[in-house]
Structure formats: structure tokens, C-alpha cells
């Protein structure tokens, strides 16, 4: 059993959703309950496999790839089906595995118009294959294919099931990310041909490209920076995000916020930094600078929003700024914080989008000034909103704190060779950003949860129900995890620590070499 899991576990996790989707293709469209069941069972199976992997995972060797499979895929161009899991990918895999079934549970009674559960649920399953695949791929081209695989389902999810302005949002999302990934592919190819012994294997590349020229390294890093940075999204490439989030159906927003954005940050940790440590060090001040601009810009953007979902979307820009700042410090402290930040942001913002979706279901609007008194009409949902806002603003004891605070702290003492003064300035700006965060989140809470319901809702009290059964089922795991990770952040850190040290090996060696 163990060896089966060892050899096939990740492959099953990647392709089981595709199998589920294939089964659903054969089921007629009218059997809606069956579609819901098949999709839920498939995603639970994936989650089960990932949990089993997490239990078998050797935490003492979290820096090494485990559960590896490495066979040729396209031998003509030297591309391999090379997958494996280490301490950085494991928490993100678990996050993906958790979020998808929760989305299916939530979808049971909350399907967006136009109602077409078959197509909608199949798209989510295809998305899952792309997301899980990206987190396990250890070959650049394999990574690229999975990274791109998520585009189409998301495009259709926003474009078909989205809000009023869905077509604009969908095409904007598609064009932005496709542009980034096209340049990323060029960067990957350049790496391949400049390597001493051409290869696409992520683990072998750091040694093979150690000798490339400084200019080439900077340009290649730039290509990857665009690909990953647009996905994160970093300021100034973030403009697709508020539109996509606002227009996407709830399920789309949750998956987008919880997992898709992490593909970008993960790319930096998995690919860009380990392979080109030298270029990473030269780019770090720019990345850090854009990250703090993103923090402040996102926060100011939040303060200007009148739509609850758009506000949460802008808060994502700010939060991903902290993650990128952590990555830019190029220290194990910062990278640990970044991975923690990704997981925490996935749980918290995913949860916030769930709540926003449910508020929209009841009030048919997300305009903040028309909402209010949620604690009166639906007290439990109001409390959840409060809880998540607190977590999001980084209250100690909840998960958000462990993503934000260490990232800021890491900027005090960045990796050797980085300009300390610059990063300390970043640190101060980022710290000011937390004040803004408290500001916009409390303001949101105050205007939506506190007070009394607006007059226009009198007579509609029956529709404004509190948290329903499906919602409890879908949300409880997230709420519990936000609290548990807040108290025991070690659960994540013990996975990631080995992985980030491995990812930073190149940077550490440069510093040790007096570079």
C-alpha cells in the first residue's frame, strides 16, 4: 500500500479529477444530483490521497522531493513527466485538496445562473487537475502545461456564469495571464538552451545554468517575473484581478483567491529563485518595492470601494504584497512567511468570498451602503464575517498573523548582499500597510455587520436567512483551520522550513562565496 502511494499517489491526485470529469461527460445533463455527487466524491478522493501523502511524508527530509515519478513524456524535445512533492508544495496541495470539495458542497444549492451543473462542475474538476499538477510538476514544460490548463476553465467560469460585466472581465483575465505565460515560456526555453547540459528538470537546472552570463540571467528572470508576477498579481499587473473577482461566480472567486493566485508566488519559490539565485538577488529590491507599493495601493484601493466583493479583491492585492515581500527578502524566514501567507490568505480570503457570495444570494447586492445590520438579520454570518476580517487584518492568534508579521520582520534583515536600508524602508511601509488593512476591514465590518438593516429590507426578513446547512458544512473546516493555524503555525512551518532552505540554497551559496 505504501509503495503504491509512493509511486502513484501524486499521479492519482492529478488525474483523478480528469477521470471524474470524463465520467460526468457520459452522464446526461438532466441527472443533476448525480453530477454533484460524482464531482464531490472525486474531489474528496483527491483530498483523501493528499492527506495520505501528508501522513506518509517524511518531515525530517522536507527539503527533498518525495513521492517522485520520472518518466519520459515527449522524448523528442527532452520533456519528462517528472513529479514530486516537497515541503513547499505539500501545504499548497493540501489547501487545493481542501478547497475544491468545499466548493462542491457549497455548490449543492448555490449554483449560479445560467444553471448548468454538468458543465460548471466539470470545469472545476479540470481546474483541480491544473492546480494540483502545477504544484507537483518538476519539469518546466510540464509545469507550463498545467499552469496554462487552469486558464480555460476559469475563463469560461467567469464568462458564462459571471456577473453583468462578465465578458470584459473574462477576456481581461485571459489576456493578461496568457501574455505573462507566453513570455515565461520563452524564458524557460532560453534556460534550456543556455544550460551546459540542456534540460527542463527543475532540480537539475540550478547546477546547469550556474555559468550563464549576468545579462542573460536578468532577462530570463524578467520573463519569469512577468509570467508569475501577473498571476500573483503584483502591482502594476494587478488590474485584471478586481474585475475577475467581482464578476466571477462565488465558486470561481473562492478558487481564484484561494489557489490560483498562489500559482504565481509558488513559481517564484519553486523555479525562479532556485534556478537563478544571482538574478533573483538583483531583482529582489524591485520585487520588494513593487510588493510594498502593492500593499499600500491595494489598501487605498480597498478604502475607495463601494462593492464588498471588489473590496475583498483589492485586499488580495495587498495581502499578496506581503507574500511577495517575504519572498523578496530571500531569507528562509521570509520564504516561510510567504508560504504561510499563501495558505492563510487562501483560507481567509476564500472564506470571505464565500460569505460575500452568500450575502449576495440573500440581498441580491453587494453594495456596501445598502447592506448593514448583518448581525441583526443573520447573526451567525455576521460573526463569521467579523472573525474572517480579524484574521485577514492579521490579528495574532489567527492564521493571517503568521503570514504577515514574519514577512515584515524578515525585511528587517534581508539576505546577505541585499541593501538593508532599502528593505528596512520597505518594512516600515509594509507595517503602515497593516494599519490601513485594519482600517478598511473594520470599516467594511462596521458598514455591513453593525448597525440596523436598511429600510428597504423591511418585509424581506424571511429571505435574509442565516447560515444554512450546506454553508455550515462548507465553511466550518475553513473557520477551524484559520483558528488552528493561528495557534499552531508550526503545523505549516515544519513542512515548509526544509523546502525553503532547499529553495534558497543557491542564494546561500552565493552569500557564502562572498558574492
Amino acid at each position: 500500500m505504501d509503495t503504491f502511494l509512493e509511486e502513484w499517489g501524486p499521479t492519482v491526485a492529478v488525474f483523478a479529477p480528469m477521470l471524474g470529469a470524463a465520467i460526468m461527460l457520459c452522464i446526461p445533463k438532466e441527472a443533476e444530483e448525480l453530477h454533484k455527487l460524482v464531482s464531490l466524491v472525486t474531489s474528496l478522493a483527491v483530498f483523501g490521497v493528499l492527506i495520505a501523502i501528508a501522513l506518509e511524508f517524511d518531515y525530517g527530509a522536507a527539503g527533498d522531493l518525495q513521492f517522485t515519478t520520472n518518466v519520459p513524456w515527449i522524448s523528442a524535445i527532452d520533456v519528462r513527466y517528472n513529479i514530486g512533492i516537497d515541503g513547499v508544495s505539500l501545504p499548497l496541495l493540501l489547501l487545493t485538496g481542501l478547497i475544491v470539495p468545499l466548493v462542491f458542497i457549497y455548490s449543492w444549492h448555490h449554483l449560479p445562473t445560467p444553471h448548468n451543473p454538468k458543465a460548471f462542475l466539470i470545469l472545476i474538476l479540470v481546474l483541480e487537475t491544473g492546480m494540483v499538477g502545477t504544484f507537483v510538476a518538476q519539469d518546466l514544460i510540464l509545469f507550463f502545461v498545467f499552469f496554462e490548463l487552469v486558464l480555460l476553465p476559469m475563463y469560461f467560469m467567469i464568462g458564462v456564469w459571471g456577473g453583468e460585466d462578465r465578458m470584459y472581465a473574462a477576456i481581461k483575465f485571459f489576456l493578461f495571464t496568457a501574455f505573462g505565460s507566453a513570455l515565461m515560456l520563452v524564458a524557460f526555453l532560453a534556460l534550456y538552451f543556455l544550460a551546459d547540459d540542456p534540460t527542463f528538470q527543475i532540480t537539475e537546472l540550478p547546477a546547469e545554468v550556474a555559468g550563464i552570463s549576468r545579462t542573460a540571467g536578468l532577462f530570463i528572470f524578467g520573463g519569469m517575473f512577468l509570467g508569475f508576477g501577473i498571476k500573483v498579481p503584483m502591482f502594476p499587473f494587478h488590474t485584471w484581478l478586481p474585475d475577475a473577482h467581482t464578476q466571477a461566480p462565488t465558486q470561481g472567486s473562492v478558487i481564484l483567491a484561494a489557489v490560483l493566485l498562489k500559482l504565481g508566488t509558488y513559481g517564484f519559490i519553486r523555479i525562479a529563485i532556485p534556478i537563478l539565485p544571482d538574478a533573483a538577488r538583483e531583482w529582489a529590491p524591485i520585487i520588494g518595492g513593487l510588493a510594498v507599493v502593492g500593499i499600500i495601493y491595494g489598501a487605498l484601493g480597498c478604502l475607495a470601494q463601494t462593492d464588498m466583493k471588489r473590496l475583498i479583491a483589492f485586499s488580495s492585492v495587498a495581502h499578496m504584497g506581503y507574500t511577495m515581500l517575504g519572498i523578496a527578502t530571500l531569507t528562509d524566514f521570509g520564504l516561510n512567511a510567504a508560504v504561510m501567507g499563501m495558505v492563510a490568505h487562501g483560507l481567509i480570503t476564500g472564506m470571505l468570498f464565500f460569505i460575500a457570495g452568500s450575502v449576495k444570494d440573500r440581498f441580491h447586492t453587494l453594495e456596501i451602503k445598502r447592506l448593514g445590520g448583518l448581525l441583526v438579520t443573520a447573526p451567525r454570518m455576521g460573526w463569521m464575517l467579523g472573525f474572517c476580517s480579524m484574521a485577514s487584518l492579521g490579528l495574532p492568534g489567527l492564521a493571517g498573523f503568521w503570514g504577515e508579521f514574519p514577512a515584515i520582520l524578515a525585511a528587517y534583515n534581508p539576505a546577505d548582499g541585499l541593501n538593508e536600508v532599502v528593505f528596512r524602508v520597505y518594512m516600515v511601509i509594509a507595517a503602515i500597510g497593516t494599519v490601513f488593512a485594519a482600517g478598511y476591514l473594520l470599516w467594511l465590518l462596521q458598514r455591513t455587520a453593525f448597525g440596523t438593516p436598511k429600510d428597504e429590507w423591511t418585509g424581506h426578513e424571511d429571505e435574509l436567512t442565516d447560515v444554512g446547512r450546506q454553508e455550515w458544512l462548507a465553511w466550518t473546516p475553513l473557520l477551524v483551520l484559520i483558528l488552528v493555524l493561528g495557534v499552531f503555525p508550526q503545523l505549516i512551518f515544519r513542512m515548509t522550513d526544509g523546502g525553503v532552505i532547499q529553495a534558497l540554497r543557491g542564494v546561500t551559496e552565493l552569500a557564502a562565496g562572498g558574492g
Binding site: W73, I74, A76, I77, L151, F174, L175, L185, L189, L194
Partner: protein, 498 residues
């Protein structure tokens, strides 16, 4: 003057088998058309069978590993590269026949002549794949072009179709003349019509001479018309729009592929050592073609015109590897491999897209993009396959197009030159522009209401279903298991890097 006595060449007929099968089919179709007035429906079937029959010897030759077969003193070569291309021409010809069956029968056009001309044109293409000599290249070119001029005017009662054919004919003849002049210059410097002989002079005693550059430019310009490269593309949109849609599909895939094959043969085999001239030339052509084609495509409202410009844009990607082909022998082989792989995958995606256009037009009788509105509501199957073709053309994994783009990227980045990287970035930018108009059609189909509210289903005849199935399977298969076509590309490079 010493005139050599005519010696009857030793002809290996088994090597010529695919061409002979096509020739026999031409005769049979002609005869059946003459004899029988009623069995017009038979003609398309015979043509299709003839094309499939011609694939058999191609496959046999591919399986039987005899290396290089050359006839007529090296003027006609059948190697793995030629076999791959012959298979491409025959299969895409077969798909075009499937597309044509109902179109020609229901449109009350001449049927017998249509298939005869189509077969002759395909015959010209299979010859082109093997032609390694100026005379045989020219012969093949005319054999494939002249029937195509006539096919373009096949909607005889429509002024637009007449315009299409005339424009295509005038431009084509003009291009042929220019190219012929280039060929005479090549013959003039070398005294031989064989490409390998010419290569010894262009790269040897005549290296760097202006006359070589002149001949090269004339030949490239001549074929730039054929592959509709900017600024020699002006005929394409009008011809594509006016011609019968199956013929448009044929022109945009098979005829274009034949042009590229001739370019590869002439420039990469016949003009070895002139990379200083042809690399910048192809760089400019490629950059212009992809950018102009894609930008103009953005503004199109007629779906066939849109695909005309999209195929101009695609031609730009295919020209790109030629701009770096001279860096080394490895780069030369790699660009040829990339080009052939691109042609194969592009053939499947583009023919598929045209098959859907033909199927939809059967109901809507409209060429406007808006006629695709709300297609998902009444033709979900067609919508899904069209989506596959559109995003494959845009190069989104895991559909076939990504691998085609990938090999082109690979080929242009391989030599590590600044020009190569510049082209790669340009292709990346262009892919995004192209994505916009492909996605817009997808958007119309999935996210817009039906324009006239007519939701009656589309009846897709079996022949069209067959064409769609072939194209869709090939497109998806090449995306998921590109090893198949990757190895095919490898054949092409091995046999040319002799």
C-alpha cells in the same frame, strides 16, 4: 554543340505510387462523370477513396526503411520528410473532400470537374514535397495553382467568387513570373537546375555576389505571395471570402503548406551559405506578417475574412524559424522540423475550424461572426469542437496548438541570437493579440444570446461529422501526446541534415 543523346531514365514506379494512384483516380472520376448523369454522389466518394488509397503506398514506404529514394538523377527525392508532407497533403485533401461533398452537391455546382481539379491540385502538392529541382518545383507549383484558381471561382453565379478567382489568378501568375525570373538567375550562375548543384555555387564561387541575392529575393517574394506573407497578402482575404468555403479551407491549409515546402526546398537546400541575405529578409517578413495579420484580424466581422487574416498571422509564426535557420546546420534542421510540425498541427486545427464554419453556415446562411451568437444553446457539440479548434489555434495547452507554438519558440531561441529572442518575444505578444479574436468567437458562442432567436438544431451531414472528428481527434491528440508529432518532426530533420 554537343547534344547528349536521350537516355531513358530508370524509373522506380513504386516510389511514384502515391502520385500514380492520384492520377488514376483523376481519370476514373472523369470517366464516371462522363458516363453517368445520375450518380453524381459517387464522385466525391471515389475521390475520397482515391486519396485514402494514395496514402497506402506512402505508409508502406515509411514503414519499409529504405532510406533515400531518388529518381531522375536526384531531381525527385522521396525521403521521410517528403513522406510526412505527402501524408499531410493527402489527409488534408481527404478532409477537404469531406467538407465539399454536401456543399458542392447542394449548391448545384459542377461536381465532376470540381473533384478532378481538386485531385490535380493535390497531385501537384505531393510532387512538390519531393521536388528538388527547379523544373520539377515549377511544374509542381503550376499543377497545384492552376486548378486552385479555377476552384476559387466555383460559385459561378456570385460576383464575389468571380472576383476571388480572378484576383487569385492575376496575383498568382504575377508571383510565378517573378519567381521564374529568380530561377533563371539561379540556373544562370550554376548551369544546373538541381538544387544541390546550385547550392555549391551560391555558397561557393558565387558567395556574396549580388546576383545570388537578387535571385534569392525574387524567389522568396514569389513564394511570399503563395504563403500570403505581408506585404504580399492582399489577395488572401478577398479570395478567401469569395471562394467556396471548402476551397478556402483547402487554400489556407494545403496550398499554403505547399508554398512553405517549396520555400524550404529552395532556400534551405538551394541557397546554402546565403543566410546573411535570407535571414533578415525572413525576419522582416515574419515580423510584419504576424503583426499585421493579427492586428487586422481584430477588426473583422466576417468570420471567413477573420480566418483569412488569422491564417496570415499564423503564416508569420511559420516564417519565424526560417529567420534563424542559417545560424548552424543544427538550427537549419531544427527550423525545418519546427515548420513541418507546425504545418501538421495547423492543418488539423484550421480545417476543423472551417468545418464548423461550413456546418454553421448551412443553417444561418451568413458569414458574419454574429451568426455564431448563442451557438451553445442549439448546437452544443459544434460549440465544444469549435472551442477546441479556436483555443488550439491560440496555442493554449493542452490542445494541439501549444506544441506547434512551442517548437517554433524552440527553433527561434535555439541559436541564441538577439534576432531570435526578439522574434520569440514578438510571437509571444502576437499570441496574445490572436487570443483576443479567437476568444471573442468563443465568447459569442458561449456567452451571447442567439441573434434571431432561432434555436432549431443544426443538421450536420455525416461527411462533415467525419471531417470534424478527424480534425478534433488529431488536434487533441497532438496536444496531449505531442511525442507523436515530435518524432515526426525528428524524421524531417534527420533526412535533411544529411
Amino acid at each position: 554543340m554537343d547534344v547528349a543523346e536521350f537516355v531513358k531514365p530508370d524509373i522506380d514506379y513504386s516510389t511514384l505510387a502515391p502520385e500514380l494512384v492520384l492520377l488514376v483516380t483523376v481519370v476514373i472520376v472523369f470517366a464516371v462523370d462522363l458516363v453517368s448523369e445520375r450518380n453524381k454522389a459517387l464522385l466525391g466518394t471515389i475521390t475520397g477513396l482515391g486519396l485514402l488509397g494514395a496514402i497506402v503506398p506512402v505508409l508502406l514506404m515509411a514503414v519499409e526503411d529504405r532510406g533515400l529514394r531518388d529518381l531522375f538523377d536526384g531531381a525527385y527525392v522521396v525521403d521521410d520528410y517528403a513522406l510526412v508532407l505527402k501524408a499531410l497533403f493527402l489527409v488534408s485533401g481527404y478532409v477537404v473532400v469531406l467538407l465539399s461533398m454536401n456543399y458542392v452537391a447542394e449548391g448545384d455546382y459542377w461536381e465532376g470537374e470540381y473533384y478532378v481539379l481538386l485531385l490535380s491540385s493535390i497531385l501537384g502538392m505531393t510532387v512538390m514535397a519531393s521536388a528538388r529541382d527547379l523544373v520539377s518545383i515549377f511544374l509542381a507549383l503550376e499543377l497545384l495553382s492552376i486548378p486552385a484558381y479555377m476552384l476559387a471561382t466555383w460559385r459561378k453565379r456570385d460576383a464575389k467568387s468571380n472576383e476571388a478567382g480572378l484576383k487569385y489568378y492575376l496575383m498568382g501568375v504575377f508571383a510565378s513570373a517573378i519567381m521564374l525570373y529568380g530561377m533563371t538567375l539561379m540556373y544562370g550562375i550554376s548551369g544546373s537546375t538541381k538544387l544541390t548543384d546550385i547550392a555549391e555555387f551560391t555558397g561557393g564561387s558565387f558567395a556574396g555576389e549580388p546576383i545570388v541575392s537578387l535571385g534569392l529575393v525574387f524567389i522568396v517574394v514569389g513564394f511570399a505571395f503563395k504563403v500570403s506573407a505581408v506585404p504580399f497578402h492582399t489577395w488572401a482575404p478577398d479570395t478567401y471570402e469569395g471562394a467556396p468555403t471548402p476551397v478556402t479551407a483547402f487554400l489556407s491549409v494545403a496550398s499554403k503548406a505547399a508554398g512553405f515546402v517549396a520555400l524550404i526546398n529552395l532556400v534551405l537546400i538551394g541557397f546554402v551559405g546565403t543566410e546573411d541575405v535570407y535571414q533578415p529578409l525572413f525576419f522582416v517578413l515574419a515580423a510584419l506578417t504576424m503583426t499585421v495579420g493579427n492586428l487586422i484580424a481584430l477588426r473583422q466581422t466576417n468570420v471567413v475574412r477573420l480566418f483569412a487574416y488569422s491564417s496570415v498571422g499564423q503564416a508569420g509564426y511559420m516564417l519565424a524559424p526560417l529567420a534563424v535557420a542559417g545560424a548552424s546546420d543544427e538550427a537549419r534542421a531544427d527550423s525545418i522540423g519546427a515548420l513541418v510540425v507546425y504545418l501538421l498541427i495547423y492543418g488539423a486545427m484550421n480545417l476543423g475550424a472551417f468545418a464548423v464554419i461550413i456546418a454553421v453556415a448551412r443553417k444561418t446562411r451568413s458569414g458574419e461572426t454574429s451568426s455564431f451568437g448563442g451557438l451553445f444553446e442549439y448546437a452544443p457539440g459544434l460549440t465544444v469542437v469549435m472551442t477546441v479548434f479556436l483555443f488550439a489555434l491560440a496555442g493554449i495547452p493542452p490542445l494541439g496548438g501549444w506544441f506547434a507554438k512551442f517548437v517554433v519558440f524552440r527553433a527561434v531561441v535555439l541559436p541564441g541570437t538577439g534576432l531570435g529572442y526578439a522574434l520569440a518575444v514578438l510571437i509571444a505578444v502576437n499570441s496574445v493579440i490572436a487570443l483576443f479574436y479567437y476568444a471573442r468567437i468563443a465568447q459569442l458562442m458561449w456567452m451571447q444570446p442567439v441573434p434571431d432567436g432561432d434555436r432549431s438544431p443544426i443538421r450536420v451531414p455525416p461527411s462533415l461529422t467525419g471531417a470534424l472528428a478527424i480534425c478534433c481527434i488529431v488536434t487533441v491528440l497532438f496536444g496531449v501526446a505531442p511525442g507523436l508529432v515530435g518524432d515526426v518532426g525528428q524524421f524531417a530533420r534527420l533526412s535533411l541534415a544529411l
